[in-house]
Subunit: 139 residues, 6 copies
Amino acid sequence: MQITRRATFSASHYYWNPDWSPEQNARVFGKCANRAGHGHNYTLEVTVCGVVDPVTGFIVDLKWLRDLIEREVIDVYDHRHLNLEVPEFAQTIPTTENIAIAIWNRLAAAIAAGSSARLTSVRVYETPEIFAEYDGELA
Amino acid sequence: MQITRRATFSASHYYWNPDWSPEQNARVFGKCANRAGHGHNYTLEVTVCGVVDPVTGFIVDLKWLRDLIEREVIDVYDHRHLNLEVPEFAQTIPTTENIAIAIWNRLAAAIAAGSSARLTSVRVYETPEIFAEYDGELA
Amino acid sequence: MQITRRATFSASHYYWNPDWSPEQNARVFGKCANRAGHGHNYTLEVTVCGVVDPVTGFIVDLKWLRDLIEREVIDVYDHRHLNLEVPEFAQTIPTTENIAIAIWNRLAAAIAAGSSARLTSVRVYETPEIFAEYDGELA
Amino acid sequence: MQITRRATFSASHYYWNPDWSPEQNARVFGKCANRAGHGHNYTLEVTVCGVVDPVTGFIVDLKWLRDLIEREVIDVYDHRHLNLEVPEFAQTIPTTENIAIAIWNRLAAAIAAGSSARLTSVRVYETPEIFAEYDGELA
Amino acid sequence: MQITRRATFSASHYYWNPDWSPEQNARVFGKCANRAGHGHNYTLEVTVCGVVDPVTGFIVDLKWLRDLIEREVIDVYDHRHLNLEVPEFAQTIPTTENIAIAIWNRLAAAIAAGSSARLTSVRVYETPEIFAEYDGELA
Amino acid sequence: MQITRRATFSASHYYWNPDWSPEQNARVFGKCANRAGHGHNYTLEVTVCGVVDPVTGFIVDLKWLRDLIEREVIDVYDHRHLNLEVPEFAQTIPTTENIAIAIWNRLAAAIAAGSSARLTSVRVYETPEIFAEYDGELA
């Protein structure tokens, strides 16, 4: 049994591997290699599983989950440049895949510690056409 | 192999545990504890799995599935107050989680009996931001 | 030149004319006449027009407009039963048309007083399939 | 870890089993049996899984995946009559289920051969209300 | 004061001017000139204006409007090939513009005759990316 | 009679008035004043009006309009930092209002020169919650 909460944030990023020449960055990353940056309205879906508490009818208190997502993710990512202002992307390229992993890492322990639910997946939409989903297993 | 049919209904509900004081209901359920009720346009996704029949190309006849959902769910829930008018919520708080379980219970046996498909999940969106998914296993 | 801000609220309502018999209410209003109520996720679009301020690039400060909508509309309508808890619907049936007019009446003077913009339309979606739009002229 | 790319195509089709009488086709397939055909804006979601390459941050190069989908699916299906112009539907009824299987068959080997990712699911929306999902296992 | 009702239909069409050579049709209409046809999920928005009846709170009875749209448009267009099966497109190319005009012509007099409202616009979406809007004036 | 074409682009921006102190920029523009920039998936709707050509059924050739939007807007704005890389925003704050005006200025003359249609409005969505619309008149 699962429940999902959606949230959104708007952020800038670029794709750049500092070990490569500008030409190789442009060849692999195309328009995303532009160092001035570009941005997206990201949509985030946080899914947890657990037992429905017979007293509340809840797997998790969604207000608590919303506040947790707000504090741990939105306050850090929203209206920010991911490469320049978010610590986990100082060395890691903020692709959709890596953003999903980073959000998992920000939320999984806190959800386990603060509720009887368990994080099961983080889905991140970069645009309506592209989304990554991470379930805690890298492969 | 799976196929999904979406449907919608508009209903009222509130969250209230009769074993609690009004203060405790307000503290846990916030605005949802308002006894006058509030409502949503719910979206329902019913997913079944099975083998594609080589004669029809169907896992299940979607007109039959639509009529079943209409009769078993929409006719009972749409334009209703879930707490006051739908029997399964007389004692059970109509959270998104419990609505998903209740719809599963209304559909699973009928799908198995009337087709060669099997219900695999019921997803209920309370708003575009919140949805629960039930696959027949409570934990 | 116009700018629009969207907001959402979830509320219950029913359609009932107290001058009519229950039969006539049922005949005219169908399922909407159910006195237990039903509900919707309403979407509201508030559109204002004005001159773009060359200093800010704004027609109106959207944070100010968002807070105004929040205070004047969302705080009053969200998670409420419109017929029972919102004063303007004590005597007026909360149809989509009347909700659009009521929201106009809550916002038009405040926008004119608090900004250099002017309200030009209020659009209310009851569902994605039905919406009303009011521009301040009743016919 | 998964990443999904969405694409769209517009196509005509009808449902018709040549072993049946016109009456039986009409009884089983309803309006879809109309031999003049009708059409849809199909939405396709192609999901692959794999390891995130630490050098690029990618499971798969999404530009490469987009071009593959374009060449293998969109160029063949878009603005076409599926029954009359797409070879895999000469003998197979182009139901949503069969379209999902056919797209899987067009993409799975090419993704495995051209990248380090693996196709995990193909989801096809015929309308926003109906979608099929295939994961490579027929039952 | 306006109210809008949305409806959908799925249909096939092609673009072909019989006075032109196949080459000229292909040059002007591109993939749309394919005589096998292709199709879309069309979305239709019918907007009427009028006075809000103080007795009902309605500009128009939306159930009546829905049934009118169903009978005059959906029953004729849905699951049809517009060029081959809908009379107004026997001589007229079913572009988005011409479909909007044709639907206006099917509805305007009936709305004026059967209600106190007046049709103000017909919007037709061929895809989410393309829509035409007609207000009864050709230029 | 109008027809609309939608397009999308992803870009970065910030709000900053160089005549103000950092404190005043922060007070007026809030999170948008962050000089590292943030970004959005913008959606653009370009609406033209004209007479339906009886030979083609078109107000305007939508492939031509798409290519014009691509060349004049998307190629210049997409995957760019609007403040730093797009000339019209070197001195002008790229608010939603100013982006709509700038796109109008890029398209209006070209549409009038290259077709028998006329640009009637440019609508720009910064997010699904905020959009500006410009019709060529500043007030």
